[in-house]
């Protein structure tokens, strides 16, 4: 518990490290913070092109919101996913890339992955706000759900940073981790119903067997994506089982990450 106290006592450092990440990222770029919106827009264009025009897939309209359109339907799940991958990738390299700092000054090292999480959350909030405005222009009403959305944003942040902290320690021992994770995340995205709907898998499971779907739905990101789509696209509260699954996954993974990191952080300076 003393480590928690120490983290709390140095929370201003976390704030400053976060500002460093946010401000440093887009310095000297002409478009500045706009880049954080251009990137998801580009992804949206690519997938929309493929799914809407080549595969002729139209998602069902939001229930009860009545919103229609593949780009909107896609972005409701894509933005949480990109947040997740950015936190995992950034957090896992945060220790190695700040080796110089770790070897020269003492501070609770956990602030490094936490700052990545916080700064990515700033960008994410911005992206979600823009998405919410666009959704409203198309007739959805996500505003009453904002408190619930924030709760699930926090849960996804815990889940992502917990995973990032475990991987960050592993990356200190084996630098393979960062390359390996890149591949795993790419596969993971296609194993999550982000660009295609869960119905595709359900239909296939009817032919092959129920176990396919059960296995597929073990993935916590599948639940998170479903929850965010419920809240933003459909404008309804998520299902209980999905919510509890997200909560449990977030708490377990964060706790594991926290324990892994806090037990190993004393030796980081000599391992780097």
């Amino acid at each position: 518990m003393s480590y928690v106290k120490e983290l709390a006592a140095t929370r201003e450092l976390l704030a400053n490290l976060t500002i460093r990440e946010v401000k440093g990222q887009y310095r000297r770029t002409f478009l500045g913070q706009l880049w954080s919106l251009i990137n998801p827009l580009a992804t949206m264009l690519v997938y929309t092109l493929v799914f809407l025009f080549l595969l002729r897939f139209e998602p069902p309209p939001g229930d009860p919101s009545g919103v229609e359109g593949y780009p909107l339907w896609l972005m409701c799940a894509m933005l949480p996913w990109t947040f997740f991958t950015r936190v995992v990738n950034g957090g896992l390299t945060s220790v190695v890339s700040n080796a110089n700092l770790i070897k020269k000054v003492y501070f609770p090292r956990m602030h490094l992955p936490l700052a990545v999480m916080a700064s990515t959350a700033v960008t994410w909030s911005l992206e979600l706000s823009v998405l919410a405005i666009v959704l409203m222009l198309f007739g959805a009403m996500p505003i009453p759900f904002i408190p619930v959305i924030i709760v699930f944003m926090a849960l996804l942040a815990l889940f992502a940073v917990g995973l990032a902290m475990m991987l960050a320690i592993l990356n200190v021992h084996f630098r393979d981790t960062q390359h390996f994770t890149g591949i795993v995340l790419q596969m993971w995205m296609f194993l999550t119903p982000i660009i295609y709907p869960l119905e595709f898998v359900e239909r296939r499971a009817e032919q092959v067997g129920q176990w396919v779907l059960d296995l597929y739905r073990l993935n916590p990101m599948e639940r998170f994506v479903a929850v965010f789509r419920n809240l933003l696209y459909d404008n309804r509260l998520p299902a209980w089982d999905d919510s509890i699954y997200c909560l449990a996954a977030a708490l377990i993974v964060f706790l594991l990450g926290y324990l892994t990191f806090s037990r190993n952080e004393k030796r980081l300076a000599e391992l780097l």
Binding site: G24, K104, V105, F107, K266, R267, A269, E270
Partner: protein
């Protein structure tokens, strides 16, 4: 006798010298997770106390373990055996300007670096003018630090660190920054610092500097404590040892 500022109690620090280190997964699997390593004790069973309000020097030849011990005092490394007790808030200054972000301005970096060294935002704001003034960076304070000359860079870093005003300051040969005038200014700052009841622990190679600044000195040789005591006596012993080695 007042309470000592720092108690170093039977501290040992071991390093593993990897002949073949498993830094990649492949080598770990091939060797079944067994790294080949020799042990090396950089610091062996060292004990001493640092009195409050003193300037305490660590001396020794290269590889004597003084920097390792200093890193243990700065909490960057953790001793494998023994313990270090700090009575008061400690800050360390092992390298000036570490943690500066090149794209951020001098002013933004003062806040960033200050908080890394454990200073609250309101305290930084209160000391901001003093820090800028002391660094002599002047009008460049709102420029990104990557445009700074190396002198400006270290002066700003040093200025932030010295204004953190911890109870115990751990310093590694950073007195050698800046030009003559800045060196003189920083030496005065150190004196002001210890006069107000704060403790300084420093590592240096310059015996002249030790004689001038330190009250107490610990001499390390090959990781073991050779002597500890008043600066005059210990530096004399050390000088004799050095002369005997060279002669």
């Amino acid at each position: 006798m007042t309470e000592p500022a720092v108690i170093v109690d039977h501290v040992s620090k071991r390093f593993k010298l990897y002949k073949e280190r498993n830094q990649t997964l492949k080598s770990a699997v091939m060797r079944r997770r067994k790294s080949v390593a020799d042990e090396f004790w950089a610091v062996k069973d060292v004990s001493f106390e640092v009195p409050k309000g003193s300037t305490f020097g660590l001396i020794g030849r290269n590889g004597s373990g003084k920097s390792t011990l200093l890193k243990c005092l700065a909490r960057i490394l953790h001793p494998d055996e023994g313990s270090i007790t700090m009575n008061g808030k400690a800050a360390s200054l092992l390298e000036v300007g570490s943690g500066f972000h090149p794209e951020l301005t001098g002013r933004e970096n003062i806040y960033l670096n200050g908080s890394i060294l454990g200073l609250a935002k309101k305290d930084i704001t209160a000391r901001l003018d003093e820090i800028i003034d002391f660094s002599g960076v002047g009008q460049f304070i709102d420029q990104p630090v990557k445009n700074y000359s190396s002198g400006m860079y270290v002066r700003l870093g040093f200025s932030v660190a010295i204004h953190v005003k911890p109870d115990i300051l751990v310093v590694d040969e950073v007195l050698a920054v800046g030009d003559g005038a800045f060196k003189k200014k920083s030496r005065e700052k150190f004196r002001e610092f210890t006069n107000s009841g704060r403790t300084v622990i420093l590592v240096t190679h310059s015996l002249a500097q030790v004689r001038e600044m330190c009250d107490q000195v610990a001499w390390l040789n090959k990781g073991e404590l050779q002597a500890v005591g008043p600066a005059k006596t210990v530096t004399k012993q050390y000088q004799e040892y050095l002369d005997a080695q060279d002669g």
